[in-house]
């Protein structure tokens, strides 16, 4: 019997949808192992999130609350997660492949001598072993990995798992948070600068409108924003657009940026570089607008329009407004 521990993702006081996707993964793994899943959340004060966490069907919800935990320093978090894992005898630890998950879990893995698989998109059970599928080479190859240590550490790509929803009420336990380790004296958290946006979170939005270097300037991203706002969507960008300084790097979609899979993805004025496609190819419907008919983005899009974006985007906004009426 093997139990699974989920590390919840909480941002801006909200239990992120990525946590619900992780529950779907964990519940599948737990059923393979004949065990159950529990959730651990870490933060300064989790009284506001406790109820939402308890509604995720977990055997137990652990809350680790102490000053400074909102800063999510790996040095601080790893020993706390370690304690819960060891005390609870968990066999699999999983977190969304958020920036925190990616930062903390490898440190935890080294601490516990456990093998780790990153950005898992699928799990199967063969010959008594969990088989994890994960994209490699910018999504051009899927590797299936097995982990040979008794404890297995995983980050999952939330876009590849349905978000779990439930109305249960799991028991909640506040854990004794272990003392800060010595290494914490070597790192100081100075602050968090939030990328201000009134639009939905890129990783969770149902519609994403992304622009590339074809936009030619940061001001022109207004055209992208107009379409996104009309559809209640998020704004994304290519690495080229970010490098050119048109938009903040938090909006980068791609292999090393955000991975998105909305119902509708608009790729505007972007060629479709491999590393960009790696971050959006799981989108349900992809629309490409580019004036170059040879652009590789048309090879992965469901609908393509060969046109000048400066003309096509305003037209598209008007046309959608018309049908919305």
């Amino acid at each position: 019997m093997g139990n699974v521990l989920i590390i919840a993702q909480i941002q801006d006081g909200e239990v992120k949808k990525a946590t619900n996707s992780t529950v779907t993964f964990a519940s599948e793994v737990a059923s393979h192992l004949g065990g159950a899943y529990s959730i651990l959340a870490l933060g300064d004060d989790l009284s506001g999130q406790s109820e939402a966490l308890a509604a995720l069907g977990a055997q137990k919800v652990f809350l680790a609350q102490a000053d400074g935990l909102d800063n999510a320093l790996a040095e601080r978090w790893a020993p706390i997660i370690e304690k819960v894992v060891v005390d609870g005898g968990f066999q699999v630890v999983v977190s969304p492949a958020s920036s925190t998950g990616k930062d903390v879990l490898p440190r935890l893995a080294a601490r516990l001598g456990a093998g780790m698989a990153s950005e898992v998109v699928q799990v199967a059970f063969n010959d008594g072993k969990l088989n994890y599928t994960r994209p490699m080479y910018a999504g051009n190859v899927n590797g299936t990995v097995v982990i040979d240590t008794p404890l297995e550490i995983i980050t999952i790509r939330p876009t590849e798992f349905e978000a779990f929803s439930s109305t249960g009420a799991s028991p909640v336990e506040k854990i004794d948070v272990p003392q800060a380790p010595e290494v914490l004296g070597k790192i100081e958290f100075l602050g968090f600068e939030k990328a201000e946006s009134t639009r939905p979170d890129l990783a969770e939005a149902g519609v994403v409108v992304s622009g590339g270097r074809g936009l030619k300037s940061g001001e022109n991203f207004k055209l992208i924003e107009d379409l996104a706002d009309l559809l209640g969507g998020a704004v994304g960008a290519t690495r080229a657009a970010v490098d050119a300084g048109y938009i903040h790097n938090d909006f980068q979609v791609g292999q090393t940026g955000k991975i998105v899979a909305p119902d509708l993805y608009f790729a505007v004025g972007l060629s479709g570089a491999l590393q960009h496609v790696a971050g959006m190819k799981s989108s349900k419907v992809i629309v490409a607008i580019n004036k170059d008919e040879e652009a590789p983005i048309f090879q992965v899009s469901d609908y393509g329009v060969v046109a000048d974006l400066f003309k096509a985007l305003p037209e598209l906004v008007e046309e959608i407004k018309k049908v919305a009426k």
Binding site: Y137, V146, I187, E188, V305, A307, L316
Partner: protein, 276 residues
């Protein structure tokens, strides 16, 4: 001041769609593709240079930059590329990529750190072939050092005792200060013109991206030393914890239709795709 930069060779990432899977699905082959330093590791070399340079692009360092890799003998070529950028020397630990996982890499680097006693280890945030993003965090834990991952900006004081690092994280940027010795993993933005501030090289900005090697740099690199070691020499535990047992080609998206007008697009999105 000594900075250790790790470097992995990878098949040309701009042609990652041309890698092939062997018939039995147990291997990825990159025949015909050029080997290159992992881009993020190249950014690591550039960042190390910028941290130590006494003037923007001067090439004169207030310390030593050592490039370390694990791989076959041929990786000397990619090490020389890094040495041509201005790094001082290289270390090649012979090893076969298929017999490594992130933990073995981290353990190997920990042994090199023990031997070399650097003040900072800089690693690319991920190798763009395996895309795992684990080794730097594991190394920091093994060493008991602080970690500043996904660094988009680094500022060091003149005495090089610490780094203030802006980390690229979900929803914005987190700023941390780490006392050396520390492990840094670098993200794309570290090689923007203002990605590194060392408070000595001032007055103008850097070029966009990692520097190109000059002809002189390439000539000099030929004479720079590369130490060769084996995993056994270093006494590294080589037990694989994570094995990739098979590779498959992900289902490709097929190209859809090209439409003539925006009106047609909206009609398709509404009636066919039903997403409006």
């Amino acid at each position: 001041m000594k900075i250790l930069v790790t470097m992995k060779r990878v098949a040309d990432p701009d042609n990652a769609n041309k890698v092939k899977i062997s018939g039995d699905g147990t291997q990825v082959t990159s025949e015909g593709l050029e080997w290159k330093p992992n881009p993020f590791d190249e950014y690591g070399v550039e960042a190390a240079m910028r941290i130590l340079e006494d003037g923007v692009g001067s090439g004169k360092l207030r310390g030593e930059v050592v490039v370390v890799t694990i791989g076959p003998e041929e990786v000397t070529q990619q090490i020389r590329q890094c040495l041509a950028m201005g790094a001082d020397r290289g270390i090649l630990v012979s090893g076969d990529d298929t017999k490594l996982d992130a933990m073995i890499v981290a353990r190997t680097m920990a042994k090199i750190v023990e031997k070399e006693q650097p003040d900072v280890v800089i690693m690319g945030k991920q190798a763009v072939d395996g895309d795992s993003n684990q080794a730097s965090q594991m190394l920091a834990e093994i060493l008991g050092w602080p970690q500043a991952t996904f660094a988009g900006h680094v500022e060091v004081p003149e005495d090089l005792s610490s780094a203030t690092v802006t980390r690229e994280v979900d929803g914005g940027a987190a700023k941390v200060k780490v006392a050396f010795p520390a492990v840094l993993s670098v993200d794309l933005r570290i090689v923007t013109p203002t990605g590194v501030t060392n408070n000595v090289a001032t007055g103008k900005d850097y070029q966009e991206g990692p520097r190109y090697a000059s002809l002189r740099g390439i000539m000099k690199a030929k004479k720079k030393p590369i130490d060769k070691l084996t995993l056994d020499d270093l006494g590294v535990d080589q037990t694989l914890q994570v094995r990739t047992v098979s590779f498959t080609q992900p289902a490709a998206r097929s190209a859809g239709v090209i439409l003539e007008t925006v009106q047609e697009l909206v009609q398709k999105l509404q009636d066919e795709a039903k997403v409006l």
